[in-house]
Symmetry: C2
Subunit: 233 residues, 2 copies
């Protein structure tokens, strides 16, 4: 039983809240029963696993929590990255909010067979906030890394300025499909949008917001493309 706050494993958990430490060690922490169970279900072995009251004094585990919610268990895992493969996957460009990145990892796990592919400017998917927002999907479906120009398959840009509307008719695109979603305000930007094979706009009402939240847009896009692939096939 760990009884000292100077314990090396506790210090490591705290250190992994910082991106630099995650990069240097290649590790990340997951807090809470649900995440630790999701890791085990996906066949991940923890490098370190600390249970409050069994392995460590509860107050000490609380003190290194990144989420401040009194986690009863914390696991440390080695980061894994996937290949950018699949009939349908999603590419994020400049999506800097970790909650959004985690949410899309969960949505992709629910809606498509490929991973979330993280391009430049995206939040670290192994940060505490992203891992929590992913609700365990990061273990079942680790993300991939690639630049826009490295993407394989038909690139479909979600672009608020596009004239063709998402859901407006059958999809003239051959799988594998990669849905490309940009940052909150800028979107993909005109340069990347023009390099995509197809650009589609989510139909939004006049007078409302110019765009949806990036995670919402990605989820709507995946839902629609998955439905089209099932229907058109």
């Amino acid at each position: 039983m760990i009884t000292s706050p100077d314990n090396a494993q506790l210090k490591l958990i705290r250190k992994l809240q910082r991106k630099k430490a995650r990069e240097e060690t290649g590790l990340f922490a997951a807090e809470g029963e649900d995440l630790v169970e999701a890791a085990a279900a996906a066949g991940w072995e923890a490098e370190v696993l600390l249970r409050a009251g069994e392995d460590v004094e509860p107050e000490l585990l609380d003190r290194v929590s990144a989420l401040g919610s009194g986690s009863r268990v914390v696991g440390i895992y080695r980061q894994r990255w996937a290949e950018a493969r699949g009939e349908l996957s999603v590419y994020l460009h400049g999506v800097g909010d970790p909650g959004n990145v985690g949410a899309v990892i969960r949505s992709a796990h629910a809606l498509c067979d490929g991973p979330v592919i993280l391009g430049p400017g995206c939040a670290d998917p192994f940060s505490p906030k992203a891992v929590r927002a992913g609700m365990g999907s990061i273990f079942a479906r680790p993300p991939a890394r690639a630049g826009f120009d490295e993407l394989l398959g038909t690139k479909i840009a979600l672009d608020a300025r596009a004239e063709t509307k998402l859901g407006g008719g059958p999809l003239a695109a051959e799988a594998p499909l990669v849905l490309c979603v940009g940052a909150e305000r800028e979107g993909l930007g005109p340069e990347l949008a023009s390099k995509a094979d197809l650009a589609l706009a989510i139909p939004l009402r006049d007078g409302g917001p110019e765009s949806l939240n990036a995670a919402m847009a990605a989820t709507v896009g995946l839902y629609e493309l998955a439905n089209r692939m099932a229907t058109d096939a």
Copy 2:
């Protein structure tokens, strides 16, 4: 120029971080240029408006910030609630996360003509996190309050256990439509789901998560219903 941390307006801003104070005063605070501009664009007059360097010393405004992001401006507004009307609106039941409530307020503003209707157990839409997640849509489209049994129109439940899939064919439902979405894990619950006129499941892949995040589910549902209403009409 306010130079004392004991200033009553600064104290009020800080107090409004707590739900009890928001309930007692009927007020709420919005931080940042974007939100204050969205309020003005929607014709809301601030009860108090403090600009860093003009009305108040910047450090003092920083100290009362709920978001810790060094806001340059904070406005205090009187809460407004809307009537639960519209051809398409969305009802949330037990959605306790303020970020999710705010995100759905934004999505509804973009995708449908009716408000977000908040049922029991929902997070306060006027909390700092919800207001921020709503990106100004709370001013253009204030939420409504109602219980499930008070909803008017055709109630369409999103329910992971439903046999009929969302997007599987034309919608046999007459407007006004109310999309009903439950909490993250429990969903609407069997009792409410059975009281709905129609229950639809978002098609999810086998082996993935059992549900989407509540805000994602609501947004996908609104997107699909809005598209169907436009297509079937």
